[in-house]
Symmetry: C2
Subunit: 129 residues, 2 copies
Amino acid sequence: MIPESHRDLLDRPLLAMLGTIQPDGTPQVMPMWADLADGLVRVNTAVGRQKHANMVRNPHVSVLVVDPDDEFRFIEVRGDVVLITSDGANEHADKLITEYRGAEHVPTAPLSETRIIVAIEPRRVIVNG
Amino acid sequence: MIPESHRDLLDRPLLAMLGTIQPDGTPQVMPMWADLADGLVRVNTAVGRQKHANMVRNPHVSVLVVDPDDEFRFIEVRGDVVLITSDGANEHADKLITEYRGAEHVPTAPLSETRIIVAIEPRRVIVNG
């Protein structure tokens, strides 16, 4: 469902704006690191954060990535959380840190928090530009 | 309610990520131009667009602006649409175009669409960095 024309926006280390629904039904938008695997958009967060709680309660999300070189070029993936797992989540976090910040930022000490992968299946994709 | 420490993110011509609620209750996130006036966050759109319809139906929105020089520095304004008006909306659109793209991009021909100002009153503000 991700068109080749805009796939680069999800493959490149660009900030993804994740929209979730708060307990009171209002929207929340947070910047996230994201990647694409087997047609799913993946973000990485930690157990207990507000956005984690939101996605457990309400799996409907939206992920927007805008091209930093052309703000009229963007992809919005509206979809549903189909998997939340800690399996491989530390390795996934390390992969994202390496891509977004550089390998020297990968933590060497054990993490104090439980990382999770959140996998989002696209339901509708909007592209522009 | 907008802290001085992060007010620049709304004053500078930075892309604002607007989260709204779709008719089916799922989130939508779109890039917008925005400014700040009298404590309200203002965006400019046109009558009939999906995000306009969303905000008429459900006034709860979220506006996220991330510092392009430091992605860990951001402001999220969760709030409610308190005004949607066409009064002054063409002039407001021209102001935003001038700030975001340059005065040479201001249209000289009459617009084919009805521009509207959407004013958002902050309910809760989250800052980071």
